[in-house]
Symmetry: C2
Subunit: 188 residues, 2 copies
């Protein structure tokens, strides 16, 4: 089939992503990805160096999507304090809607390349802007380094079922957020 190279690249990534969303990245075989786009597994090596490179392409797509989502939500509110809260809830909502993808991009044995690290840093940077208006530009970077770990840690634990015992997960999340914002403001 005479298909443009770019197109089929995107097709493969999309198919692989869909499989990851359904089964988790560990369960996705190259054979499954290949048949999903109507080719055989060895042909994938014409487009991607190996399995890791294919997963890295998904990873990049995910972080671009998350960054765009955060930007959209940041534009929705004006008040700095409310903005941070809105971003936090949007991030959590995305993770809960795509738990397998979220697990993949934070998998420890998954090495994001230079690009992946930059994409992650950009997402954190978006958090930094409303924080700057809240605690001052100088303190925004350290503040993001408090908030981002909490967000990620809470979500990992939630998705792993660590909060299964004890009620009120939504309340716990809101409470954690409020606690950290209080602490950040008090320190000013």
């Amino acid at each position: 089939m005479p298909v443009c190279a770019k197109t089929i690249d995107a097709e493969i990534v999309a198919a692989a992503r869909a499989l990851v969303e359904k089964c988790g990245h560990e369960e996705v075989s190259l054979a499954a990805v290949a048949t999903a786009v109507g080719i055989r597994a060895p042909s994938l090596y014409n487009r991607f160096a190996d399995r890791a490179a294919l997963l890295a392409a998904i990873d990049l797509e995910v972080w671009r999507e998350v960054s765009a989502l955060l930007r959209d939500n940041a534009a929705r509110t004006k008040k700095p304090g409310a903005q941070v809260t809105v971003l936090a809830h949007a991030y959590r909502a995305w993770a809960k809607a795509h738990p397998r993808l979220y697990a993949m991009v934070w998998d420890a044995r998954f090495d994001p390349g230079e690009l992946g690290l930059k994409a992650r840093a950009e997402a954190v940077g978006i958090l930094q802007q409303p924080l700057a208006e809240l605690v001052g530009a100088r303190r925004a970077f350290p503040a993001a380094r408090v908030l981002a770990p909490f967000l990620h840690g809470f979500l990992t634990m939630e998705l792993a079922g660590a909060f299964r015992m004890g009620p009120g997960i939504d309340e716990a999340f809101a409470h954690g957020l409020a606690t950290i914002l209080t602490g950040l403001k008090k320190e000013k």
Copy 2:
């Protein structure tokens, strides 16, 4: 070899754990574990239902070890505020000393059984005691649900290299801890 069943169980778990520490749990094959204890892979099925069960045994051992570590460190200081800080630093030190094990026990696609969840909850519970003296018994549980996610999130991000850009990781950790404790106290 006429070895007591309990002993050989422990031997297998120890060998598997050592391999996980060295290579990461994804790289560890049952064949490697078996030859490490002088048997063949199929024989492992006499002791463990499958690969997941063997990994779950390591998981349980790890959480017992972490709980013991936290208990030891809690006993070392009397002041509640200092105790929380000491526990947090001890937890981080353990994770950085055993990065592959830390990644394994928090792997999302790794399902801890009932026992595993209880072991995790116990470790969090040890954090709760010094927090109770700090913010009151009633607020200790929600407080632990703020602190534990931050600790875990920070470590995952640190081990994944997310803080590679920008200096002062130790300072960032101490700052995050201080911020959260400030926020928790202010809310009282």
